[in-house]
């Protein structure tokens, strides 16, 4: 026990970093996420094959030396498609979850703070209305108004995410408002907005991390559904979701076409989840190792 305990009260940055480094989930998750993020970034400067170029004669080839992950029904290189598709898919999912969180979480906190009031009622019924609209209808409405694009897919999925996060946040916040430390915060003169962010939010963070990673993977898949009706990234811009959707009818004789985008989604989401779990442990004071 030779490590010095810092005498100032401030938590040491190294302490957090060291804890983070000891966290296996965090590291593994971070690595996985980095691989795919890296692939997306590399694709800006280099891909094995141009994804806009087709080679019909060479279509539906299982993996072999020249095409490590095989080719799709237009003879395009699946590896390259995956790399470029990572850009769209990750961007859509991250931003859509971001929109859902940035709007939904405060709404949920607000509603919980004013539980039982008119405001709560208005917020939650508004959420119900948005939630009840089938995402397809929202998608069609948005395309109709603004034309199809990946941006609009982000907005559509983001809108759908808002009530999800609002509800989850509110449910977590409701019980917390009964805790005594809220009284202490109120004695310190903090208003409900401040209490919500300083005291409620950190305590619902676990729920949000879990829900966030779930919505992330649903977002990648939703983009595929939306591009089917015309919203979403327009071809030839590839996206994982659409690669999957396109491969649907080939599944019985060319499973590789679905397998690799499926794996890509799976591993990315897995990475994020591991990271989520890791963060959760990192932020959980009771699980922290001694500050060494």
């Amino acid at each position: 026990m030779s490590h010095s305990q810092t005498e100032t009260g401030a938590p040491t940055e190294q302490g957090t970093l060291a804890a983070a480094l000891r966290n296996r989930n965090l590291i593994l998750g971070g690595l996985l996420t980095l691989v795919f993020l890296g692939a997306a970034l590399i694709s800006f400067v280099w891909v094995p094959y141009d994804v806009t170029q087709m080679a019909i004669a060479n279509k539906i080839k299982p993996p072999y030396a020249e095409h490590l992950l095989g080719t799709d029904h237009y003879g395009r290189d699946i590896l390259s498609m995956l790399m470029v598709g990572a850009r769209t898919s990750i961007a859509v999912a991250v931003l859509a979850v971001g929109i859902g969180m940035v709007i939904g979480v405060p709404l949920g906190l607000w509603a919980a703070a004013k539980r039982g009031s008119l405001l709560d009622e208005v917020i939650m019924r508004g959420n119900d209305l948005v939630f009840a609209f089938p995402s397809l209808v929202i998608a069609v409405m948005i395309t109709a108004a603004f034309g199809p694009s990946a941006t609009n897919a982000i907005v559509a999925i983001g809108i759908f995410n808002i009530p999800v996060f609002a509800r989850i946040t509110r449910s977590g916040a409701l019980t917390l408002w009964n805790r005594d430390f809220i009284l202490a915060a109120r004695v310190a003169g903090k208003g409900s907005a401040r209490i919500s962010f300083e005291h409620i939010l950190p305590n619902v963070l676990n729920l949000l991390i879990v829900q966030g990673t779930i919505q992330f993977s649903l977002g990648i898949l939703a983009e595929a559904g939306l591009s089917y009706v015309g919203l979403g990234a327009q071809p030839p811009t590839p996206s994982w979701g659409r690669m999957l959707a396109d491969s649907q009818t080939f599944i019985s004789f060319a499973p590789h076409m679905a397998l690799f985008p499926g794996l890509a989604i799976l591993l990315t989401v897995l990475g994020l989840n591991l990271m989520g779990d890791g963060l959760r442990d990192l932020f959980d004071p009771k699980l922290r190792r001694g500050r060494t």
């Binding site: 806009t52 029904h73 015309g230 009818t249 019985s252």
Partner: protein, 470 residues
């Protein structure tokens, strides 16, 4: 076995073929439940149906139809000349909602001479009149049943309408009182399966016996290799084209259109989008038609020529255009390939996938707001539609119009054939569109089902001759 389950991709919205364009309606009821004065045969020929014969006056203006005897509607009432009058008058009435009202535009009057004879007077001679009377939109309906025709169709056909589980299936029953050759099946059920993968699974699992217009050509080799199934490959009336907006730049310039035509590699599209099925076309005409002229060489794949043409046209490269794609699989897939091919010659076609409703509204109907689109024209003999300068293609050629006008009134087959050839050549020479292929029809059937139509001269699933051969 005397019942049959058929898979269809689209469910009819309702059962009245005379008040909607949905081919899905005809697909179920044409020739099975409803019959017209004439009807299409499996090869597209026009044959007698409820009119057993007819006389045409010298001037070609008066048609006298002799109706079959003993025909009854399914509700038990007799089919008589007054029903013909009613049906045709209803279709051409002021407030008619018949989707093909133009079929009846030439009719001056319809009269019942006696219960078994009807006289139709035209305002001008029309060589296509009997053909027009064979359409699903011209079938005979019973006046008493008009109120409920959308849910309970009453016709004269070999099958009566049985049961409709909306969203799922429609069952037809054999009509024991049929006036003609009775059906060989006791009942037939149409199941509606829109998802291509589901269609494959349903067929494989044996849930359906026949799938008409099987939607995923990529799965056909599997059925072909399987002795339990037969794959019937036929043709439709669907000319699939890359439509170009002739009315606005850059495609108002024939050179640019020609460049596009040469940039397109038909075989790649047929291989990539249709998995090898489909006959290449070089003009807007069905290749199985005897009057078809093969002009594919005029728009042979030649990217170098395309580039040269673009340069000649003086357009700035890369030329950026929009390609609007409706939701059909041939359009979405074909569009992606076309875009890739165009990119090779310096045309960047931005793909915009749209819904059918939007395509109809923005591309086809009002605004004609598009540069390129892909669509299959499935009506028989629809070359005439291109003559309309207000048509979405925006093709405005008085010479072509004249030829089409002549065809309409010409009844001498030889002259007609010649005129049709001229019209086809004009379209090809003007590079009105990128002509891709004639849409094929794939029907997958269990071995033992016989008597199915192989081709689809009109949207129909004629079950009158279908039987199990065990």
């Amino acid at each position: 076995q005397d019942s049959l389950t058929l898979g269809l991709q689209l469910e009819p919205p309702h059962m009245d073929p005379t008040s909607a364009a949905a081919g899905a309606i005809d697909q179920v009821v044409y020739a099975n439940v409803f019959e017209g004065l004439t009807r299409f045969g499996p090869d597209g020929s026009v044959n007698p149906s409820l009119a057993r014969s007819w006389d045409i006056s010298e001037d070609g203006l008066t048609y006298t139809f002799h109706l079959v005897e003993g025909a009854k509607f399914h509700d038990g009432t007799d089919f008589e000349a007054t029903d013909v009058v009613f049906s045709l008058d209803r279709a051409r009435a002021e407030d008619s909602v018949n989707a093909q009202k133009s079929l009846f535009a030439g009719i001056e009057s319809v009269e019942a001479l006696d219960p078994a004879t009807v006289q139709v007077t035209l305002s001008a001679p029309d060589g296509m009149f009997l053909f027009k009377m064979a359409w699903g939109d011209a079938v005979m309906v019973a006046p008493e049943s008009i109120e409920t025709i959308t849910t309970n169709p009453v016709g004269t056909g070999a099958f009566t309408f049985g049961n409709w589980v909306q969203g799922d299936s429609i069952t037809l029953q054999k009509n024991p009182d049929y006036w003609g050759e009775p059906a060989m099946l006791d009942s037939a059920t149409f199941k509606f399966i829109s998802d291509p993968t589901a269609a494959f699974a349903a067929m494989m699992a044996g849930d359906v016996d026949v799938f008409v217009a099987f939607p995923a050509p990529e799965n056909l080799p599997q059925f072909d290799a399987d002795p339990r199934y037969n794959v019937l490959i036929g043709n439709t009336e669907g000319e699939t084209i890359v439509a170009m907006n002739n009315a606005r730049p850059p495609f108002d310039n024939k050179l640019v259109r020609e460049a596009v035509a040469h940039a397109i590699n038909r075989q790649d599209i047929i291989d990539g989008a249709m998995f090898g099925y489909g006959t290449p076309i070089g003009t807007f005409f069905a290749p199985h038609n005897p009057d078809y002229v093969d002009l594919t060489e005029m728009s042979a794949y030649d990217p170098e020529a395309a580039k040269a043409l673009l340069e000649e046209a003086g357009v700035e490269l890369p030329l950026s255009v929009k390609m609007t794609l409706p939701p059909t699989s041939y359009a979405r897939r074909g569009g992606e390939i076309v875009a890739a091919q165009l990119r090779e010659v310096g045309i960047v076609a931005q793909i915009e996938n749209v819904e059918w409703a939007q395509w109809l509204e923005n591309t086809f109907r009002n605004a004609h707001d598009y540069d390129l689109t892909i669509i299959s024209h499935t009506e028989p003999m629809d070359i005439a539609s291109l003559a309309d300068p207000d048509y979405y293609t925006g093709y405005d050629n008085p010479a072509f119009r004249e030829v089409i006008d002549q065809i309409a009134v010409e009844s001498d087959p030889e002259v007609r054939s010649d005129l049709l050839g001229q019209a086809q050549t004009m379209l090809a020479e003007d590079y009105v569109a990128g002509f891709l292929f004639e849409l094929p029809l794939h029907t997958v059937a269990k071995t033992g089902v016989e008597g199915l139509w192989i081709n689809m001269p009109t949207q129909a699933t004629d079950l009158t001759g279908v039987y199990w051969d065990n």
